[in-house]
C-alpha cells in the first residue's frame, strides 16, 4: 500500500522524529519497500524558508516547549528553561548542525575496557565496535557527501580557520585541516557547493550542507512508501497485554489526538524527548516507563564536554564570514591519561554573530569587561571544544510533574553536573585553545562556558546485557521486541566526535536490520 496510510493500518513502521536518526531511518526503510509513517512535532522548512538572522531563525526552528534544568552546570543558571539548542522541524537538528562528520576512534566504542573504572562514571563498552561500523560509516559519508572522504576535496579555509590553523601549527599540532564536513566543497548530489555565506546554524540557504529536510525526507516520500506527518507531536506509545507496542497516540497541529497503529515503533526524538516519551508511556505493565526494566531510561545523559575560546587580535578577522565550523585540530582527540583525564577532545572553529555573541560569550556578564570584548567583535576569532564526557547515572532526564507542556504532559527536567574528568579536560582544552590564539598574537582571550546542549546523548543506551542499558546492538529495546531507539540516545558513551555521522550510520544499519527482520517474519 502506498502513502498516505490509514490510522488503523497496523502494518506500518512508525518513526517518531525526522532528524539525523529518524529522517534517515524513515528514508532507508522506504527505499527498501517498507511502509513508514514518520511523525514530526515540528513544521517543514526548506532552504528558501531559512532566515539568516540568529534570533529570528532561533524563533523559527528551535525546540522551545517547556523544559526545566537542575544540577551544577552553568546552563541551569543562565538558560534555565533552555537546556538544549535543538530543532523542532522536519529534518530535526540536521537543519542546525554544523556539518562536522567524524568517525569514532576504535577505543571510543570500548571505554570501560580502555579507561578502566573511573569513579562516578557509569562507563560501559558498546556492544559493537569500529570494525563492525566501518561499512556503515562509509555509507553515511557517501550519503552526506562528507569532504575528505570518498575522494571529495576539503573545503577552503576562511579567515577564522586561517588564524586557528596558524596558531595550531605554531604549537606543533599536525592534524589540522578544514575538517570532514557534510558541506559540499563542489556541487554534489544535486546540491550547491558552499558559498561561504555563514549562518550554517540557521539552515543552509544553498542546501550545500546536508540536511535530512531536503535529501532523505523528500527521497523517501518519492518512493510512495513514506508519509511524513508534520506538526504531529507524539504523546505516548501504546502496547498490548503481551508487552508489544501497537501504536502511538499523537496530537495534530490543531491539538486533536489520533492513534496511529504500528507494526514497529522507532523512537528518534533526541536524547531529551525520547526517554521522556518512554517515561510518559508508563503503564501497569511497565510502571517505570516503557522499556525501562533496567532503570536506565533517561540516565547517563551526556552533552559532550564543551566550551569555547574566543580571542581578540589587533587586526580584523571577521570570523563570521564563511563556513561556521571551518576547521579542526584533532591532535588532542586521542586517549592519553598523562594529560590528567581519560578520553580526548577536538578543537573546531566556530563563529557566532554579534547577537549570539552578546548572549553566549559570558552569559549574565555586563560592564566594560564584557562590552570591550564586543567592541572588538570584528577582530575576534573563535573555536569550540568538543570532548568525551563521562556518563553518570545521576545526569538524567526525568519527568517534571510540576511543569506541563502544551498537551498537559509532564515536561522533561534535564539534570547535569560535570564529572571531575570533564572539568579536567575542559581546563586542558581552554589552556590549549588560548595558547593557539596567543601563538598568533591574541591580545585577549575568553574561555567561554558551554552553550545550551547541541549534542544530547546516551539516555537510552545500548548494552550487551539488558541489565545495563535500554537497547541492544541494533537499537532494539531489550524489553519490547518491536520497539527501537534510533537517535543519539542509544549511544553507550559519547566519544570525542560530533555525533551526527554516527547517528546516521547507526540509522542506515538499523534500517537494514529492521527490513531483514520483517522479511524473516521476526517483526
Amino acid at each position: 500500500m502506498a502513502a498516505p496510510f490509514d490510522l488503523n493500518d497496523d502494518t506500518v513502521v512508525v518513526v517518531i522524529g525526522t532528524g539525523a536518526g529518524g529522517g534517515v531511518l524513515a528514508n532507508e526503510l522506504a527505499q527498501k519497500g517498507v511502509s513508514v509513517v514518520a511523525l514530526e512535532a515540528g513544521g517543514r522548512y526548506l532552504p528558501e524558508d531559512y532566515i539568516n538572522d540568529e534570533w529570528e531563525s532561533f524563533g523559527q526552528l528551535a525546540w522551545l516547549d517547556p523544559r526545566s534544568t537542575s544540577g551544577d552546570w552553568r546552563v541551569a543558571k543562565d538558560f534555565s528553561g533552555l537546556p538544549a539548542w535543538i530543532v523542532k522541524a522536519v529534518g530535526g537538528t540536521t537543519t542546525h548542525w554544523a556539518g562536522a562528520s567524524l568517525r569514532f576512534q576504535p577505543h571510543e566504542f570500548k571505554t570501560r575496557s580502555t579507561y578502566g573504572n573511573v569513579e562516578g562514571a557509569n562507563l560501559l563498552d558498546w556492544p559493537i565496535d569500529l570494525a563492525e561500523m566501518e561499512p556503515w560509516y562509509e555509507k553515511a559519508e557517501e550519503k552526506l557527501g562528507v569532504t575528505r572522504t570518498g575522494g571529495r576535496e576539503g573545503l577552503p579555509g576562511n579567515n577564522n580557520f586561517k588564524v586557528f590553523e596558524a596558531g595550531a601549527r605554531k604549537l606543533g599540532y599536525t592534524e589540522v585541516h578544514t575538517g570532514r564536513m557534510a558541506i559540499n566543497s563542489a556541487e554534489n548530489d544535486g546540491r550547491f557547493a558552499c558559498q561561504q555565506t555563514g549562518f550554517c546554524f540557521q539552515g543552509c540557504k544553498w542546501g550545500a550542507k546536508w540536511s535530512a529536510a531536503y535529501t532523505d525526507i523528500p527521497r523517501g516520500e518519492a518512493t510512495g512508501n513514506l508519509e511524513v506527518r508534520e506538526r504531529a507531536h507524539v504523546l505516548r506509545i501504546e502496547h498490548d497485554a503481551g508487552g508489544k507496542v501497537t501504536g502511538v497516540l499523537y496530537a495534530d497541529r490543531d491539538g486533536n489526538q489520533h492513534l496511529q497503529k504500528a507494526r514497529v515503533v522507532c523512537v528518534a526524538g533526541n536524547s531529551i524527548e525520547s526517554p521522556r516519551l518512554l517515561l510518559n508511556s508508563a503503564s501497569s505493565l511497565f510502571p517505570d516507563g516503557l522499556a525501562n526494566s533496567s532503570g536506565q531510561v533517561g540516565r547517563n545523559y551526556m552533552r559532550h564536554m564543551t566550551g569555547s575560546v574566543y580571542a581578540v587580535f589587533d587586526k580584523p578577522v571577521r570570523m563570521w564570514r564563511g563556513t561556521t565550523m571551518a576547521g579542526i585540530v584533532q591532535d588532542e582527540a586521542r586517549h592519553d591519561p598523562s594529560r590528567g583525564f581519560v578520553g580526548g577532545y577536538e578543537l573546531e572553529t566556530l563563529a557566532l554573530g554579534l547577537p549570539f555573541m552578546a548572549a553566549f560569550l559570558d552569559p549574565g556578564a555586563w560592564g566594560r569587561e564584557f562590552t570591550t570584548a564586543l567592541d572588538s567583535y570584528e577582530n575576534m576569532a573563535g573555536m569550540w571544544i568538543v570532548g568525551e564526557d563521562m556518563p553518570q547515572e545521576t545526569n538524567r532526564i526525568t519527568l517534571n510533574h510540576e511543569l506541563k507542556d502544551q498537551y498537559g504532559l509532564p515536561a522533561p527536567n534535564v539534570h547535569f553536573t560535570d564529572h571531575p574528568n570533564d572539568i579536567a579536560m575542559r581546563r586542558h582544552a581552554y589552556k590549549q585553545g588560548i595558547a593557539i590564539y596567543e601563538a598568533v598574537g591574541a591580545t585577549r582571550t575568553f574561555p567561554t562556558p558551554p552553550y545550551p546542549s547541541t549534542h544530547n546523548l546516551g539516555t537510552n543506551r545500548m548494552s550487551e546485557n539488558p541489565r545495563d542499558g535500554v537497547v541492544n546492538r541494533w537499537g532494539r529495546a531489550h524489553d519490547v521486541p518491536n520497539l527501537y531507539v534510533s537517535d543519539g540516545s542509544q549511544f553507550t558513551t559519547g566519544a570525542a566526535e560530533n555525533p551526527t555521522l554516527t547517528i546516521v550510520a547507526l540509522a542506515i544499519r538499523q534500517a537494514d536490520h529492521i527490513a531483514s527482520q520483517m522479511s524473516q517474519g521476526q517483526l
Binding site: N158, T197, G322, A359, G364, T371, E378
Partner: protein, 174 residues
C-alpha cells in the same frame, strides 16, 4: 498623560537643566541635538520622562559602548513604556535613585562617573529589576540591525551571494 521624550521636549528642557546642574549626566552631543532624527523621537506614554532618561543611562552603564549613540539604548528600553511594565520600572528607578541619594547624590543621573554608577548597579545586580533590564538589553540592544555595522558585523550575506568572492579568506596579517 503622553509626553514626548525628544530633543525638543524632554531632552532639551530637562537635559539642559540637568547638564547645568550635574554636568553631562545624559550625554547627547550638540551635533546630535541638532540632527532631527526621527529614530530618537520617543513617545513616553506610561513612564515619566525622567524615568525613561534614567533607564537609558542605566542601559548604557550596563552595556557601555562609547561608539554607540543613545538612540540605540533608547530603542532597546522603549518596550518598558507599557502599562503592565511601567509600575515595575518606576519602582526600580525610584530604588536606583534612592540608592544614589544614599551615596549623597541627587539621583542616579546626577552621578558623574560611570564607575560610581556601575558600583551602584553592581550592588543591586541580583534584583529582579536589574536582571530584567539587563536580560532585555541582550536582545534589545545587540539585536538591532542598525547597531551591527557599528561593531563591524555584516549580518546576512546570502542576498549578496555569500563571501565566496567577497573576502571569506582575505586575512592578510598572519
Amino acid at each position: 498623560m503622553t509626553e514626548t521624550l525628544t530633543h525638543r521636549h524632554m531632552t532639551r528642557r530637562q537635559l539642559l537643566a540637568r547638564s547645568a546642574a550635574v554636568g553631562a549626566a545624559f550625554v547627547i552631543g550638540p551635533g546630535f541635538l541638532a540632527a532631527n532624527t526621527a529614530a530618537w523621537a520617543m513617545e513616553v506614554a506610561h513612564l515619566k520622562p525622567q524615568t525613561m532618561a534614567t533607564l537609558i543611562r542605566m542601559a548604557r552603564d550596563i552595556y557601555p559602548h562609547d561608539h554607540v549613540a543613545d538612540e540605540y539604548y533608547a530603542i532597546a528600553v522603549k518596550g518598558y513604556d507599557v502599562p503592565d511594565k511601567a509600575a515595575m520600572i518606576e519602582a526600580g528607578v525610584t530604588a536606583l535613585d534612592a540608592a544614589a541619594q544614599g551615596k549623597g547624590h541627587a539621583g542616579y543621573l546626577a552621578i558623574g562617573w560611570e564607575r560610581e554608577r556601575s558600583d551602584l548597579l553592581r550592588s543591586m545586580e541580583e534584583s529582579p529589576f536589574f536582571q530584567t533590564v539587563r536580560g532585555g538589553l541582550v536582545t534589545g540592544l545587540y539585536n538591532q540591525k542598525a547597531v551591527w555595522p557599528l561593531f563591524g558585523y555584516e549580518g546576512e550575506s546570502y542576498s549578496l551571494g555569500g563571501y565566496i568572492d567577497r573576502g571569506f579568506d582575505d586575512i592578510n596579517w598572519l
